[in-house]
């Protein structure tokens, strides 16, 4: 493991199997490989001392598959919700330290998550998050199904990331089956992924405005997000683009007229989004809230294995789109963080910058009609496949193990899963009333993590 990391490989997720096996995925560029082992008596050495990003993976394997990790101390509960506070809380003591509990039921339309703040006055010392209230056991439910049926379990893990999760799953299965997507299929899926990114980024910019009560910006971007989703609905029949991705083929068609109409509407949306973004620049009361709040330093972003816009806003260069041979990202260069300060302001700005790239890519991709597309057999089928997609929140990894054409293990490690620990890290030292803003600057899914 240490050799692999020294050799420039990145940790991309780890998971247990129902037979007590342990797998660690490593990536370098577009290559991915899996280290596998079958520990005796379900006990093995931890890797969290080398890879901070593996903390949640090991805690999950401990809770769900009963693996024990020597050296992972203390092993705090993640998915199980023990009643004893010391089983999952960070011990924080001192004069004036008190706890503030928020959730899992919130006053707004927010998914279930419990936040336990350790504070002195209004200052946050540490934050423990307890998620997985809606753990549905999707991964286990998919076992024993054929690849086509199991797709639904990856797709419905989360609505706002439905396309990214489905494409990652399709990639994983095609990787295992040795199938190579045709150029047309790559284009088709890239359009879907980028459309999903567009409406998510518009939503997330609006969410930051809502976090500071800036109604003008929040309403403007909510309206833009809704327009984007309406375009998705008109072009592909669903606001979250459910049912647009299939394994091994793509049935989407968009004739030249429809593609051109969509392109035209996206250009109008781009112009309006640009104008709304410029308006935000001149809202002094909004800008005054963003800088220096919720800072995630460069080193900590690397330590926690943060992905996506949140990582790039901290100056960590990494974007799966630079190495995605299964999608149409030829010549893609990731957006550079204009400011690598890792605060709320830079995460917000990162989204706006990435939106520009997305608009441009969509404009190019929609220059030609979309036609039904297929995959071709490139190499022999294997029992294991990995798919990676850059969702609007970052790198989403899907892994499948197949046996006799049936799924024996499905694992989805979404960008939200990778980034949740960073929310707690970025919140420490800030004021309690600023937490909603910090949380919204990451805007992670609960459902994506809960699975």
């Amino acid at each position: 493991m240490a050799d692999a990391l020294d050799g420039g490989e990145r940790f991309a997720g780890a998971w247990a199997t129902s037979t007590g096996g342990w797998r660690i995925a490593l990536t370098r560029g577009s290559d991915a490989r899996v280290l596998a082992c079958q520990p005796a008596d379900r006990r093995l050495d931890t890797v969290v001392d080398m890879v901070g990003a593996a903390v949640w993976d090991e805690r999950e394997a401990h809770d769900l598959y009963g693996l024990e990790f020597t050296g992972h101390e203390p092993m705090r509960a993640l998915i199980k919700h023990p009643a004893q506070p010391e089983a999952w809380l960070t011990p924080v003591t001192g004069p004036g330290v008190h706890q503030v509990a928020v959730g899992p039921i919130h006053a707004g339309v927010i998914e279930s998550g419990h936040f336990r703040f350790h504070c002195v006055g209004d200052r946050i010392l540490a934050l423990d998050t307890r998620l997985f209230y809606k753990h549905r056991g999707l991964e286990r439910a998919a076992e024993g199904l054929g690849p086509d049926q199991a797709l639904a379990y990856a797709a419905r893990a989360c609505a706002a990331c439905a396309v990214a999760n489905s494409v990652a799953y399709a990639h994983a299965v095609e990787d295992a089956l040795g199938l190579e997507p045709s150029m047309q299929l790559r284009r088709q899926r890239t359009v879907l992924v980028e459309l999903e990114r567009a409406y998510n980024h518009l939503n997330d910019i609006g969410a930051v405005c809502a976090g500071v009560g800036y109604a003008a910006g929040s309403m403007a971007f909510s309206a833009l997000k809704d327009r984007a989703q309406e375009l998705c609905s008109q072009a592909f029949g669903h606001r979250f683009m459910f049912g647009t991705v299939a394994v091994g083929s793509g049935a989407l068609t968009l004739d030249a007229g429809a593609a051109d109409a969509l392109r035209q509407r996206l250009r109008e949306l781009r112009a309006d989004a640009g104008a709304a973004w410029r308006d935000l620049q001149f809202a002094a009361s909004l800008q005054a809230r963003l800088e220096g709040v919720g800072v995630l330093e460069h080193d900590r972003a690397i330590q926690f294995g943060v992905v996506g816009p949140a990582a790039r806003a901290s100056g960590v260069l990494g974007d799966v789109r630079t190495a995605s041979p299964r999608l149409a990202y030829e010549g893609f260069t990731p957006a550079i963080a204009p400011r690598g300060s890792g605060d709320v302001a830079s995460r917000l700005q990162m989204r706006a910058v990435e939106l520009e790239t997305t608009w441009e890519m969509l404009d190019e991709l929609l220059a030609a009609p979309l036609v039904a597309a297929y995959t071709s057999q490139r190499e022999r089928a294997s029992s294991l496949g990995i798919g990676r997609v850059e969702s609007s929140r970052g790198e989403t990894v899907c892994m499948v193990e197949l046996d006799a054409g049936l799924i024996t293990r499905l694992h989805l490690r979404t960008a939200s899963y990778a980034n949740w620990p960073a929310v707690a890290a970025a919140s420490a030292g800030n004021l309690l009333p600023d937490f909603p803003l910090i949380n919204k600057s990451f805007e992670l899914c609960y459902a994506c993590a809960d699975r």
């Binding site: 919130h106 976090g211 009560g213 309206a223 809202a283 009333p433 909603p436």
Partner: protein
């Protein structure tokens, strides 16, 4: 006869109070490109809450139960203290502005103490922030009233309103300073942005809404009405003390109505265009208001302009 008319006018205040936040809410929605609720929505909410039973948290005692009627009573007395359209008739509580400040402070205190009684974290947090802001807000309130009281040589609101009528006060710098400082009084007393966000569902950011979280049914209706009465009081005072108005009764009434509508519109614009400021910056803003009011007092006392 005068007593009857005074009581009727006070009831007008009681009845119209919910209309003000309702109007602001509607105007805000229009400014943000939404249709929004009707201005009468607060009345519907009050009716709905009034028909519901109250639920008290475990362990909450007499302080929790007493707070809503006490807060509402304070608002009622405050409405009686403020003369409407220059029509002053003593309902037994006088018209002294210092009494008004005291009654408002008592209401704030009762609500803060109720939060301690429930022990709810969010209520406590909101109450603690409210009390922190009150240190600055009450100084601002007192100083602003001082600016209006100096020309009248009295803290009697009837005389202060008379002294603020007509064109004459606008020739004094002090009056302008007072009007500027009163804008902040309006923002902080009505719990609006950039000080507080009345629309938020985020418990962690709440100030005025926090202590209300544990209340339900009639208790909540009383507290909501009290917050609406605060709107009525400060907008009324703003129109009577710091906006142009004639002294004679019918004209004064018309100017009052116009002044209150104008202030509602102003609040809607501010709430739409402004984000909430960082919590710990709010005292600095209120301190600035105190300085402006103090400057007004200074110019008046030293006779500058």
């Amino acid at each position: 006869m005068n007593a009857l008319l005074a009581t009727v006018l006070q009831l007008v205040g009681v009845a119209l109070a919910p209309l003000l936040p309702g109007t602001i809410q509607t105007l805000k929605a229009r400014l943000q490109g939404r249709r929004g609720p009707s201005p009468l929505q607060p009345y519907r909410t009050l009716r709905r809450l009034w028909s519901k039973s109250s639920v008290a948290p475990d362990g909450a005692g007499v302080i929790y139960r007493m707070a809503p009627p006490l807060v509402a009573a304070c608002a009622l007395v405050a409405i009686a203290i403020v003369p409407l359209a220059g029509f002053s008739y003593d309902l037994g509580v006088g018209h002294d502005v210092l009494a008004l400040i005291g009654v408002l402070a008592l209401g704030r205190f009762a609500l803060a103490v109720s939060a301690w009684d429930t022990g709810n974290g969010f209520s406590l947090m909101g109450a603690a922030r409210d009390v922190m802001l009150a240190v600055f807000a009450e100084a601002l309130l007192a100083l602003t009233f001082l600016v209006a009281a100096l020309p009248a040589h009295s803290t009697d609101l009837g005389r202060m309103i008379s002294a603020a009528a007509g064109v004459h006060p606008w020739q004094q710098i002090a009056h302008w300073c007072g009007a500027a400082a009163f804008i902040l009084v309006v923002l902080v007393e009505t719990g609006r942005q950039p000080i507080d966000n009345p629309d938020t569902h985020l418990e962690l950011t709440m100030i005025h809404e926090g202590p209300l979280l544990e209340y339900a049914g009639r208790d909540l209706a009383l507290l909501q009405w009290s917050a609406q009465a605060r709107h009525w009081l400060v907008l009324l005072l703003g129109a009577e003390l710091f906006l142009p108005h004639p002294l004679a009764f019918p004209g004064a009434l018309g100017a009052l109505a116009l002044g209150i509508v104008a202030q509602c519109f102003g609040l809607a614009v501010i709430e739409t265009a402004q984000a909430k400021m960082r919590t710990l910056r709010a005292p600095a803003l209120l301190g600035l208001g105190c300085l402006v009011a103090l400057a007004g007092v200074g110019t008046f006392v030293t006779g500058v302009a």
